[in-house]
Amino acid sequence: MSSVDTYGFINAKMRARLGKAREEAVTEALLRAPTLVDAIAALRPTRYAALARSYDQSGDIQAIELVLLKMEIALHREISGYLDGAEGRFIAELLGKIEIDNLKNTIRLWYSSIIHRRPIRHRSEYLFKEEILHPVDWTALINALSWDGVVQATENTPCHSILLEHAEESLREDGLFHLESRLDRLWYEEIRRATSLLKKPDREKALELLDQEIDLKNLLILVRYGWHHRLEAKELFSLLLPWGEVFESREAGLYIETPKENRSANELLSRFLPDEQRIGDHSAIEEVLRIEELLARNRRRAYRRLLGGDPFNIGVALAYFFLNKEESRRIKAILNGKYYGFDEGYIRGVIG
């Protein structure tokens, strides 16, 4: 089967949807809406009409977020259904990212309830509790009375072994940070494994994109935890995702080994992002936010470039997912911004 046979239909479908998305210009309409009521009205004639219906019924922004998540999952399933064999399985595997994020959210909520003893009441109902990719028992997880219960709820899933590595006491003392980093890494391991099933051009394209993503993530880790939080070399190194140019670079090694007070984020970034402005004299937290925005912008550019390239490979589907996810993220942020009464300019600044 040629790549045109495989991707001809999906490419046309994705592009038609992107065209429609561009035509609807949902986020622009939302941003311009003066109040939440106007923003919801802006959603009605679009493909996000289900969000407006949810708001009519519940008046609750969090209920809207759950609908958005469901839409995102449905989209993955739909597209993976259009592709057969390894390509279809690869697309389905992308759901793993949503699953990991859902797992992190659920564990955070569980942590708040059991470890911090804060009542979570209805908040558990905002979690997505159906099977995403693996048979996680979400209900058992959120109702677990101990960490063992959490671990048991993830039996027969790839993350089970990672959860087993952690104990309730250590989580109580150290928090969830390391566990979450480990779960993030797990997804990259899984998705890289899934790429090996793809045909060569697809595999190369998928790995190229993943490596770009990993590089940006590693840069962020190095800046945020190495420069802003000043973690020790060993701990910092353990957080890195063990792939990509940044991880393998001499500069990153030197940066990690440099005494934590003397690390220069500037030097590191100028090596990997030479075209970007250097870090100024703003407060460290502002700088980290700025770098995060910069990296997000780079990622957006990379995915947009994909759409201008060869239309008959997995890249178009990946770009579509990314852009769709971006739009969902923006919609969530704008609706929340409108709910809290922030003005258009401020929200624009936040969502980038």
Binding site: T35, V37, A41, I114, R121, E125
Partner: protein, 663 residues
């Protein structure tokens, strides 16, 4: 219906400034003037004119209207349409007052929505427990029976409510407490504080389960009602101010339109000037309206369309409402040039003939007709109905397609694929399957292909004739005679057809050798070659060109070669393209034949089901294919002969395009 685009006249008017608002209202009410900016005046006259900034920012008006629409949508109320606009009610917009009204209502809504959110969250908490109870997931629930020794059970209930727990009296001093196990860290200390004593009576336990189930169900119902009640209150709050919102909306919309008209105005110290295109049959009405509104203090001048460059005249085409689906097909393609043929009626005839040839069946046509009629009726009864896959336009089109299919079905003697009545023309299916009687008009697929080729030739010649008419009206006589789509092209095409049919008649052995063929070809090719030179001479005589003879000569050879190539390949491919009509028709008949065969193999109820399923499949798939192919043949084979699509559409400013969705 006009066979050609509507004749237009250009109005230029001067009115006293003090009457300009009345004139705006009058023009808005008529809604037939397609305004243009005054730029045709002499430069020294233009210098004396000035434009004026609008008193109100149109963006502000649009944004406020958008807010009104958002509120109406939130209240599930219909948006006001053009029917609510009354020009006599146009007044200065009170922007600040409108803002206050909208802000007040928005605040009320947001307050109600906040209450709805709280109710929804309480509902979610109850739903979770209710679900566990229904699914017997007792491992997540904690149900206790006991008594409170210190304080009252009501107080305990209040204290436990932040954790979503329930306290329900059972019998005497005993109460039951239902909570989630994960909240025990909060519940246990409270129970202890109230001196909780556990009771293990199994009878009471059974009773407790029933009690909490009833309580959860009643709470669930109560909260759903509460949430719905708040939603209704929000809708009610908007509905109560509906008239006010409609009035604001109407005035904002009228001001937007008025501002749009004024943006074309130019001013001297005391007068207002404006200009615009009007269909000739509306000209007198417009003049009277301006005279009346300005109380006679005006000057109105008319310029005929023939006095300005054709390409700057907007094009208005009118077709009866019944032909709207075909008018839309033309509009989707492009706007015809001013003064040329309105293609709608020709598109209708060509489209329906092609569709009928590809999809001729009385039964299946009847289904299309009924779907079209019911769909159109549904849209007529519910004007606000959202358009689905079968849009208003498609349902109207289906009525015509159904009729066409029925007519051709009767000609082919096909009724849901069955030969219930003898064909009026020939049995299409029998010709496809090769068992047509020897006396039949068409006996095999070659006969069918021949029919569609001839049909294609008629369509192409119709396109050529329409092109000659257009060029004659445009006074482009050289192009009309010598162009590849002109008379010379037509003669060459005719000669080619004669040769092709002669070739077929000799069973593909030799071309006809009539003595006129070679001279005709030679003369036509010479004329074709001469075209740029003749055109150049004519253009020079009218001062329309600055090219030298040498430049024309340099381009003419290439132009000639391309034209010859286009004539021989273009006409051939365009004609053969019509074989798709036969192809689709044959596919239609073959599919029906296959389903009938399957039906006879299975027999009984199964056979009937196969027959029905087959018909549905053919109606959906073949109907869609035939519709698309007919459109393609019209756009590429028919339009390419005469339709330049270089016109600019006539867009008068009036009380239309009412909701922001149309903006």
């Amino acid at each position: 219906m006009n066979l050609f685009t509507k004749p237009m006249r250009l109005l230029t008017a001067v009115v006293l400034q003090q009457r300009s608002d009345q004139v705006v209202k009058a023009l808005l009410k008529l809604g037939v003037l397609d305004f243009i900016h005054i730029s045709r005046l002499e430069p020294d006259q233009l210098e004396k004119l000035s434009s004026r900034p609008s008193a109100t920012n149109r963006v502000v008006l649009e944004d406020l209207r958008g807010r009104v629409e958002a509120l109406l949508k939130q209240g599930h109320l219909a948006l006001p349409g053009e029917s609510t606009l009354d020009v006599s009610l146009l007044e200065e917009p009170q922007i600040e007052r409108y803002r206050v009204v909208l802000d007040e209502l928005t605040q009320v809504l947001l307050g109600l929505k906040e209450q709805q959110k709280v109710a929804n969250q309480a509902l979610l908490g109850v739903e979770e427990m209710h679900r566990y109870l229904e699914e017997s997931k007792w491992q997540y629930l904690d149900l206790r029976i006991g008594s409170v020794k210190e304080g009252k059970s009501e107080q305990l209930g209040e204290k436990l409510s932040p954790y979503g727990a329930f306290v329900e009296p059972i019998e005497g001093e005993f109460v039951t407490v239902l909570s989630l196990r994960r909240d025990l860290a909060h519940v246990d200390p409270l129970l202890e504080k109230f001196g909780w004593t556990e009771e293990s009576d199994p009878l009471l336990q059974k009773q407790a389960v029933m009690l909490v189930r009833t309580r959860l169900e009643s709470e669930h119902r109560k909260l759903i009602d509460r949430r719905g009640e708040i939603e209704r209150s929000a809708n009610q709050a908007i509905a109560e101010r509906k008239e006010e919102l409609y009035a604001i909306w109407s005035n904002l919309r009228l001001n937007e339109l008025s501002d749009q008209i004024k943006s074309y105005f130019s001013y001297t110290r005391n007068t207002t000037l404006f200009s615009g295109w009007v269909p000739a049959d509306q000209a007198e009405k417009v003049r009277s309206a301006i005279v009346e509104a300005s109380e006679g203090k005006c000057v109105v001048e008319w310029t005929e369309a023939t006095e300005v460059p054709r390409e700057s005249v907007p094009v208005a085409v009118t077709s009866p409402k019944a032909l709207e689906p075909f008018q839309n097909m033309v509009n989707n393609y492009a706007t015809p040039e001013y003064g040329t043929v309105n293609p709608t009626i020709f598109v209708m005839i060509a489209y329906l003939s092609m569709f009928g040839l590809m999809f001729g069946d009385v039964g299946q046509g009847l289904v299309l007709l009924l779907v079209g009629l019911f769909g159109s009726r549904s849209y007529r009864l519910n004007p606000d109905k959202k358009e689905g896959l079968l849009t208003r336009n498609v349902t109207s089109l289906l009525v015509y397609l159904g009729l066409s299919s029925m007519l051709f079905g009767a000609l082919f003697g096909s009724y849901f694929g069955l030969p219930l009545l003898p064909p009026l023309w020939f049995n299409f299916e029998a010709a496809v399957e090769g068992h047509a009687p020897a006396t039949a008009l068409v006996r095999d697929v070659y006969g069918i292909l021949g029919i569609t080729i001839r049909f294609g030739i008629i369509i192409i010649y119709t396109g050529l004739v329409l092109n000659w008419v257009n060029l004659f009206r445009k006074k482009s006589y050289v192009t009309m005679l010598l162009d590849k789509n002109g008379v010379v092209g037509g003669i060459l095409f005719g000669t080619g057809i004669h040769m092709a049919f002669g070739f077929v008649r000799t069973s593909y052995r030799s071309f006809p050798s009539d003595p006129w063929i070679i001279p005709t070809l030679v003369i036509c090719l010479i004329l074709l070659f001469a075209k740029p030179y003749v055109q150049h001479v004519v253009d020079r005589r009218h001062g329309r060109t600055t090219r030298t003879f040498g430049q024309v000569a340099a381009g003419s050879i290439m132009e000639f070669l391309v034209d010859v190539l286009e004539i021989f390949t273009g006409y051939l491919s365009n004609t053969l393209s019509f074989m798709r009509v036969a192809g689709l028709g044959i596919a239609h008949a073959s599919l029906m034949g296959t389903f009938k065969y399957l039906q006879s193999m299975v027999g009984g109820v199964g056979g009937v089901l196969i027959f029905i399923a087959g018909n549905i499949l053919v109606i959906v798939l073949e109907g869609l294919s035939a519709g698309i192919q007919s459109l393609r043949l019209n756009y590429y084979e028919f339009f390419s002969r005469y339709f330049t699509g270089r016109g600019i559409a006539y867009r008068p400013v009036g009380l239309k395009r009412s909701s922001s969705a149309d903006r």
